[in-house]
Symmetry: none
Subunit: 99 residues, 4 copies
């Protein structure tokens, strides 16, 4: 085939197109690495923020939950709530001991 990293099959690797494929692959890999690096930095920043918040007396768990709740679209939240209530009813109105 013409490309390394290709799942397909035949591997007789024509040098020319192989070289071109290698370039493209290198391109992809390099770009991915760069993006992942930025991503990791942001992750570190987030962690630092949680740390600082904690140092100021806030509970990181709760902040996390706030972020999560605000990040969910209202429909999801509603659906989740609905599921919970349905479940409760299915359990016989809380009867089987939940909560």
């Amino acid at each position: 085939m013409t490309q390394m990293a290709q799942s397909s099959a035949r591997i007789h690797t024509p040098a020319k197109t192989g070289g071109i494929a290698a370039e493209r692959l290198e391109h992809f890999v390099a770009q991915i690495e760069r993006l992942e690096e930025e991503r990791a930095e942001l992750g570190q920043d987030v962690r630092d923020l949680y740390l600082e918040a904690e140092n100021q007396g806030f509970d990181p768990k709760i902040i996390r939950q706030i972020v999560k709740l605000r990040g969910m679209d209202p429909c999801e939240v509603e659906a989740h709530e609905a599921l919970l209530h349905l479940t409760m009813q299915a359990l016989g109105g809380c009867g089987n001991r939940v909560q």
Copy 2:
């Protein structure tokens, strides 16, 4: 209370400091949300890259593995490989198990 989102406990809520704490909390939450958003975008970009690479005939799994390998200390990689092969040989080749 003195701060919402605070694990401590006592919740008798002096309005003034509560207000200040609320502001700081809002600050943290907003900043975290912003960073997470950027992070998510980068994640999407990475996914897109894998997709495009796949469309060009590259195997995403292989690319993933290459990215990982390049991110590791070559010595570690080599050591790991060596140990793995040694171990498999000690077990009588990998073919100790059917299928």
Copy 3:
């Protein structure tokens, strides 16, 4: 020292103890494989149950949730609820738009 699959280091592999280590390693591997196999079978059984339940008109999502809730100790459930409520209050009594 003398064992393959050992992270430690020095690999001069005296045949004898190496052989013994190989046996022990083989033992571990075989046992793990056996347990994992049983485990996979059970997983399949569970999946089948969900399927059959679904065929009888029950919603697998809800069954999952029931199983999850019953599997949590009541304290956890309570703690979770409390966290949720605290979070709501921290958001200003649901004010920031949640739910």
Copy 4:
């Protein structure tokens, strides 16, 4: 309709069939719980094995990889390896990146 935990809808639960559905639901839930419990125990056993292997000087990561490799079709493994090496060579060895 007649079944709780049913995705459909109307839940006015005629006592008789509702009771029957409840029984069946209970049956499913109980059975699932039992299977999951066994499954969890096996999982614990596996973890213990890894622990004991580690205590005897084996690297759990290596063992894990061996177990995985032995569980795969040898042809697939070989093909994957070959493709990976080919690709890395095309990228000019793995050493294209520092650190």
